[in-house]
Amino acid sequence: MSTHTEAAVHEHGATIPTFAKVWVTLLVLTGAEVLLAYEQVPTLIMLTILIGLSVIKAALIVAYFMHLKFERLSLFLTLFPMLIFCILLMLIFLGDAMRLPGMRPGA
């Protein structure tokens, strides 16, 4: 019974048109990133937008290609909150990077 249910769930998430749509969306977002790189935007704003687009792309890959959307919620809750927490902890130091140029002698 459970095998049958799991197969049905897998089949539900494994439709080829869905994969194709995700692939096209990823290509479009990549194209948008390349176009953005040639706009005269301040570094930090550019960095924020590019990271935002990358997170959307990563979420699409994890959810559909890596099938996490169709896995049990407990798997997501076990794996991802601590990963996101650790990455956010790293970002604490980014403030130093912004202050450093102004602290150089003669700046």
């Binding site: 194709a20 990823l26 290609f65 130091f93």
Partner: protein, 210 residues
């Protein structure tokens, strides 16, 4: 009373016989590896970004042609290889081993194209822009150090993925591996693709020569 207790015990998560994640151990093991490897790449990407923001005269050696064009094609190769990998898993779930082997071969071809283009891009930087891992004409040696470490580690992952897929592909042809084994290999390959989704904008596009 005792039958009630035994009924409760048999359904307890701590008594075994139940899978809290409804997944097999190979897949769960690969997920754990992916999370730990994500932290490695996150730290390296953070170091690159830190240096980029903290250095006002950070080099921008990536000309539209060939660097940005090449890296965009490399992104296309990896995204397409993810699609073919998904198709391989789908074919295995349908029990079609021949189609699965074909899709895996397609994935390997796209991955190999990525490596060739990436090596070409490296050679362009080394020979034409005179950037190495230890120094460059811009006077910011951290650029080469962080760039080659990050992209080199990623390329190593792609190369290992090609070997992994080769082993899985030939086992599929010989009727040895099951669908879940192909799915686990697919998880690794998608992760390699996922990491590039951050390297491409943060490394190449943030240092594009405008």
């Amino acid at each position: 009373m005792s039958s009630q207790v035994s009924a409760v015990a048999s359904t307890s998560h701590w008594e075994g016989g139940r899978s809290p994640y409804a997944t097999n151990s190979k897949k769960f093991g690969m997920w754990l590896f992916i999370i730990s490897d994500s932290l490695t790449f996150s730290a390296m990407l953070f170091v690159y970004t830190y240096c980029r923001v903290a250095t006002p005269n950070w080099p921008t050696p990536f000309h539209f042609s060939p660097s940005i064009i090449f890296s965009s094609i490399m992104t296309f190769c990896l995204l397409t290889s993810s699609l073919t990998m998904v198709m391989a898993v789908h074919a295995m779930n349908q029990g079609n081993r021949k189609a699965a082997a074909g899709w895996i071969l397609g994935t390997m071809a796209a991955g190999a194209a990525f490596v060739v283009l990436h090596l070409n891009e490296w050679m362009n930087l080394i020979n034409n822009e005179h950037i190495t891992a230890f120094g460059n004409e811009f006077g910011v040696p951290l650029f080469g150090g962080t760039f080659f470490a990050l992209t080199g580690l990623h390329m190593t992952h792609v190369a290992i993925g090609l070997i992994y897929l080769g082993i899985v592909g030939q086992a599929v042809v010989r009727g040895k591996f099951k669908a879940e084994d192909v799915e686990v290999a697919g998880l690794y390959w998608h992760f390699v693709d996922l990491v590039w989704m951050f390297i491409f904008p943060l490394v190449y596009l943030m240092s594009a020569k405008i």
